[in-house]
Every structure is written in C-alpha cells, then in structure tokens.
Symmetry: C3
Subunit: 337 residues, 3 copies
C-alpha cells in the first residue's frame, strides 16, 4: 500500500511473456512441450488466475484480434477461448461452420490463408485429423489447435493437468484413474502423453471393447506408470485414487444396446462410490457428461469438473498470451518499468 505499482497486471506476467518460447508458434500437439515449457505455461496460468480474480480483465493482448474458426460446434471450447481472449483485453472474430465459405467448395487452405490476413492468430477446431497440420503449413499467423478430429485437443490436456496441480498442489506421486471410453477419447490419450513428464501411477477402468489402445498402454507400461487395469470400478481401485478422471460412454460405440446399459451402469460414480475414496482426491470429467457421474456428486467438494472449466479459461489465457504477445510490446513496456 505504500509502494506505487501498476494496478492492471503484475510485472511477473510481463516478464514471463517477454521470453515466451511460444511467441508466434503454432500449437498443434502436446508433444511440442518440454517439461519446462509446461511449467512456464502453468506459472503464467496461475498469474492469469490471480489477475482475473483481482481485476476481471487484463490488458496483455489489447489491440490484438483472435479468429475463432469452428468447423464443428463446441460451446465449451469456443466460449472458453472467446472469454479468455476478452479477459486478456483482446478482441475475437468468430467464424462458425454455418457461415463458412467451405460451403461454396473452398478448401481449408484458402479459408485459412484468407483469415490469416485479418487476425493475429487463429484458433481452429475441425473434424479432420489433418486439419491443424494443414493450417499450420499454410498460415503465416500462429494456429492453435482446438481439436483436430480424433487426433488431439492440446488445451484440454493442459487444463486437465493444470486442474490437478491447482487442486492437489502437485502431480508427482499421484495415482490417476481413467474410467469410461478409453479407446476413442482423445482427451485421455493426450493426457497420458503429457503425464510422461511426471512420476504417476495410472489405473485403467473400462469395458474390454473400450479399452485403452495397446500402443498407449504399452507406453505407460514402459514408463512403469501402469497400475491396475480393470473392467470394474472396485472399492480397492477407488481407495487408491487421487484423481478419478471419468469420460463419457457413448451409446453409438455399442452394437448391443444391452451391453451399453450394463457398461454404463457399472461405471457410474455416485456418493456410494465415493465413500471408499480419499478425502482429498478429486473427480474430473471433460464434460458434457451423460450418466457417468450422478448429479448428487455435484455438491461433494471433491467434484472438480465444473472448476475444471475455469482452469481451462486460465490455461487458454496463458497460452494465448504466450503465443500472441508481440516482442516489441514486451520490450517497449519493459523499458518504462
């Protein structure tokens, strides 16, 4: 109170951003990130959290424009990026599938090279696995992958990890249990990839038909991270769990509707399930959920899935700031500090 300081954002954020290794870089895959870079991302995300709690919005990206291109709808992700950019003081331009010139037969390359001319970066969600790489190849502006088909959704994986850190203080030493559809869920695969940086035990609970692909499981095994693998969420598994990461089981995946019903019911997490759980564990879910988590769990303080959404906004703020803060900006402002 006796020391004058700029109220809007701490020098820490500016300093962290001034040396960003991600400035003007495409963010296509979680595998681009070293452990140190992840650490930087989370440190900036924590500063974003403090900044938002204190001020609502910062002015880190004032004068910057972000294009949000969503070729398939995703409320959660687009709203999260949209809010993140606005809380950084920047502006967004939304392009949704319905409006797109691709309806006139335009290629993704051409659409990207056009939007390139307007904004300072592009967040891209597209049903094709190749989309993010194609966009990155043709764009002069940084592309941020917000989901390319069944491939990756990097910011989801980052926010999952950030949630664990913020809620439990650390990732190392934890036991993480994945339940549900471990076969098709790109969320789980990306998070498994990121967990290579940490010392964790991973338990897998899913019906045989939705088991984690062999390749991913072998990777976990080779890192000595693989714990119990089961088709049932037993009290023993729950008791050991620090992070219970549930995913949606979709009816479309099953040929036999009766099997779907049986599986669905065997994986439901409710208050009875959590009776066996530690007091300081957390339940996560990328949302939207179907019946995997009973509504009664929402009031349990261990239910972290709605808070997870907020961590997602902070992580996206951090990533946008690290990618979009102009270098001169950093320098110019610093010369006055």
């Amino acid at each position: 109170p006796l020391i004058l300081r700029k109220p809007k954002d701490s020098p820490t954020i500016r300093e962290l951003l001034a040396n960003s290794p991600f400035r003007n870089k495409h963010i296509v895959s979680v595998s681009q990130f070293s452990r140190n870079e992840l650490h930087l991302l989370f440190t900036v995300a924590q500063e974003m959290r403090l900044g938002v709690e204190r001020e609502g919005c910062l002015d880190v990206l004032k004068g910057r424009v972000l294009c949000l291109m969503f070729f398939e709808p995703s409320t959660r992700t687009s709203s999260s990026f949209d809010t993140a950019m606005k809380r950084l003081g920047g502006q967004t331009v939304l392009i949704s599938e319905a409006h797109s010139s691709t309806q006139k037969g335009e290629s993704l390359e051409d659409t990207i090279r056009t939007l390139d001319q307007y904004g300072d970066a592009i967040v891209l969600r597209h049903p094709s696995d190749e989309s993010a790489n194609i966009a990155a190849k043709f764009s002069d502006r940084p592309i941020i992958n917000a989901g390319n088909g069944s491939r990756e959704h990097p910011t989801q994986a980052f926010l999952d990890l950030f949630t664990i850190r913020e809620e439990l203080g650390t990732v190392n030493g934890l036991t993480i249990t994945f339940t549900g559809d471990l076969r098709y869920g790109r969320t789980v695969h990306s998070l498994c990839e990121l967990l290579k940086h940490y010392n964790v035990t991973i338990q897998l609970v899913s019906p045989a038909s939705l088991a984690l692909p062999d390749k991913v499981r072998e990777t976990l095994k080779s890192r000595s991270q693989l714990g119990v693998v089961s088709t049932n969420l037993t009290p023993e598994i729950i008791a050991k769990t620090d992070v219970l990461y549930c995913t949606r089981v979709q009816k479309e995946r099953f040929e036999d509707p009766q099997l779907y019903e049986r599986v669905k019911n065997s994986l439901v997490v409710d208050n009875a399930t959590l009776k066996h759980a530690k007091q300081n564990m957390i339940v996560m879910h990328p949302l939207p959920r179907n019946a995997e988590i009973a509504r009664e769990v929402d009031d349990d303080p261990r239910a972290a899935y709605f808070r997870q959404m907020k961590y997602g906004m902070f992580v996206r703020m951090a990533l946008l700031a690290l990618v979009m803060t102009p270098v001169e900006e950093g320098k110019r402002r610093f010369s006055f500090v």
Copy 2:
C-alpha cells in the same frame, strides 16, 4: 466548463450503482421489484441515456464479461443486451442454440454451471417456463431472465414502463389500452403486474378468444384499475387513451381462418384510428408487428414503437450495471473522487 470533471461518466451513475440492491442478484421476475427499486432502475436508465447521447459508450463495466445464452432465436432481445453491455464498456460471449452442447444431451444445469465459470453474469432466453428458476438455483453468477417460455420477460416489461415515463413524463393518472392477443402475450401480463405500483386505468380490447385471462383481469379489478373491456377498438376507447399498447395477433391461435381475418382487420391501427386520439398520446408495440399497425402510422410523432427499442437498450444497460458493478469497484473509485 470552469470545473474539472471526469468526462466519461457522471458521479451520479457511480453513486447510484454503489448502493445497488441488485448487485449479484438473479433477475427472474418483475415481482421481485418494489416501487422504489423500479424508480432506481429508471433513474439509472435515464443516466444511461444521457451518457450514451453524450459519449456513445461508458466504462462502467470495463473488464466484465457477460454470457448471452439464447436457446431460441430473438434478434431484438439479444442484440439489445449485446449492445447494452458493449455501451457499458464490457464484453459479451454469445452462445446460441445451434452451438449448444445440449444437442449432445447436456442438461440446462450443466450448461449453466459451465458458463458460470467463464463470465460474470448470464442472460438466459429459454423456451421452458422453468428455465430461469433452474438456472438461478444452480448458478453462482447472476442470471438475468430474457424470456422463459410463456412465463415472463422482465426487461420487456421494464422497458415498456420506462417508455411511458420518458414519453409522457409520468405513469400515474394515465389510461392504458391493450389491444390484440391479451391471452397469450406474456408482455401484457408482466406489464399489468408492474402497473400495480401506479394509479392507472386499463382498457382491454381483444376478440373473446384472446381475452386477458380471468385471473389477471380480476387482479386489475381488485386494484380498481379496470376500465372498458371491448372486442372493438371504438373511437370512444381511443379518445380516452394515453398509451395504446398493441400486440401481435398470430394466425396460429385461430382454428377458423376467416375469424382470424375478421379479428385482424378489426384491430388495425391506422391514421383513421388515430384521428380520434389525443395529441400527446403514444402508440406502443413490442415488435415484430404484423398488420396490427399500418405502416402509414410510422411517420406520426405519436408512434413510439421504434423509440421503445432504444429505451429498451437504456433499461438493459441500467439493469446490467446494477447487477454487475462490483462492490469494490464502487468503493475503490469513490475513494478517489
């Protein structure tokens, strides 16, 4: 001109907002508002009008983010809130039906609890009567009801009343005539509810099949507010009218198309109708209109229905400011004034 003052917004607005009884409150129903609170809302709305006329935009909600969730389309209402928020210096994030995860079977509660994490308040329009109450129950952020099914549309009622005040100087002592579909029009019902705070005479003109519901009419009678009830808009009724409030008669409401044509034509307001009207009365309509008001009336200075849209923006600015101005903001800024 000799006294230095902050150009952006008058201390009056800050003072009014500093003691807002609506800060962080859900706005679900007009029945939440006492007469004093209505008065406060309108006083702030007048200041907003002055501010916009002078500056275009204020910075009252700088750094705040408003989520606009429209589960059914409504250009008028969503654009009005959108502009209102932006003229307050804030930002908006739009979520429309088409984008919604409810398509993936997500419940309203979950959608609300997610968006909760991003924005500072939520404006909700939803076809279900229960929507606003459900949202209010589950949201940690203030919910502003922008239409819940056939139930209520509070800001429409507020803007109707504000229009009368601004155009005619007062509400007390006036004769207000409602025409058209008085049975299904939630606008009319909400306005009738608000008029309990005023000393007015209410005339009702509608076909029998679209008459005001008995319950509402009995309420008016019990307040001694009920005047002439008629199926025809007679010169006598017009002559006594200070506010002619027309509503849309929809073809879908009629089983007999001939009856619809007869009714529709009997209620049309045109220049001939207005020959019998006072010089300082006004014609209102919530819009969109069909044939209820002839286009020739648009040039009559008594036609207030387009100005009504602008009053709507000022009222929504006032409501957003009263709900969303953070308490510390008020305090902090005042300490410098």
Copy 3:
C-alpha cells in the same frame, strides 16, 4: 524519439477524418464517389495500413457500435468488416440470417428501424437488389452496402482498386484483363464503373455465354478503354496484362456440363500461363476460387489474391472511419493537438 507524440494514431488520420465528406452518409453505390473522394478513401486506407502494422489496433472509433446484418452468409465480408471495426477500437453486434426476426415475417424496414436504435451504423448484406436502397430510406443511421443481390458490393470494388494501387503504385496506364464469368459477376461490373476515373485498357476473356453485358461493354468502348475481347486466355493477352483479374466460373451457369468442363479448363491460370506474363504484373481474384487459379500459383510473388483480402480490411477500416467518426470527436480532439 526526442519528440513526444501520441502513440495511438497519427494526426494525419484525425485530420483526414475531420473533414470527411462521408460522415453519416449512406454508402450504397460506387457511383456516389468522385475521383477525389476515392483518393481520400485510399489515403485513409494507407494510413490504416500503417497504423495496423505499427499498433495492431487504433482507437479512432472507440465507443462506437457497428451492427453487421447478414441476410446471406459471407464469411469473408463479415469477418473483414468485423475485424476492421475492432481494429478501429470499436465494437460490433452481429445479426445473421438464422437469428433474424424476418423469420417471423418482419419486413426489412422494421428490422432496420429497430437496429437503428441500437448501433451507430449498419453494414447490410441482403439477397434482394433493392435492399440497400430500402434500408437507406428508412434508417436514421448510415447504411453501408455489403452486397445487395446481383446489384453492387461497393467495398469489394474499392478494395480491388486499392490492391492495384498498393501493389503497382498507380492505376493509370495499366492494362487490366478480366477472365471468367463476366456476365453475372457484380465484382467486375462495379470495378468497371470505378475505372472510369482512370486511364486504363481493359481486356475481356470469357466464354460467349458469360460475356460482359453489352451495356457495360459499350460503356468501356465509349471511354476508349476496351482492348482485346476473346474467349481464350492467349499468351498475347497475358503478355500485355498488368492486372489479371480472375473470377469464379460456376457450374450452375451452364446447361451443358461438357461445355462447363471445356470452359473451366480453358481459363485456368497456372505457372505455364504466367510464363508469358510480365514480372511485375499481379493476379487477383475476389475469392473463393474453384479451379480458376492452380494452387501452384500461390507461391508466385505475383499472386496478389490473399494480400487482396488484407487490403480489403484496410479499405473497410477507412470507410468505417470516414462514415462513423463523430464530428465533435474530430473537433474536440483537435483542440488538444
């Protein structure tokens, strides 16, 4: 560096805007513009370019709100206006077809008179030829035509001309070759209209069924601007060309699919075509393209069609600033400079 100056925008822009002949004017047709006015528009657009390259965003339209009404989808145009407004420091409110109350049978007039009340200007894209004139007649706020049916698309013509100026330094003395669908393409017609202000030679290459309408061709002839007219893009035509303006040939225009294939292939511009072209010529296209320009051309420095998009943003920034900068603003700020 030794002289203090306002960092955000040069006095030049303010000065240019202070005397804008377009302030609060409707922009419906390119024929409204004298040569001097075009020159002013391009001078401001150049300043916008410098401003964006230096700062990202200006604050010329801070506190202004622009309504974007798109009754037919057009990613390119709506994103361009959206970004332009935001890079001027202003805000936008988007109203797309899907949301429109016209679905409830509302007339264009009523929709316009409503939005009139919210924003400070309206950008309108509408399938009807009469739309822009109707809107201009009923709106108290300036209407900017962003495409009225097959009639006009003024900002497209402006940006085409601005692209030529910026890329080649001048328009006078150039040979401009139009290829493709010269019959239905409003882009070509509007650009021909604007080219009356310049000393140019125009070559026309199209199949007979898609030839430039007689009236437009006669006009070019009467100005002594008409050069070679051909159904084939010959090496001779290419060799003389300074600006090769290609347009999309749409399958729907042909009754005979074989004819379409033949025509389409005869007009393709690829590296082989450009072997005959000057080193300092440019290839333009309003985009989206189909097969008219081979992808291999994209890497040729003469390919100007993506840069054309960026010039479009600068021209739209210039036009918005010339129309929307309030007169007092100009005066008030100048008194401090």
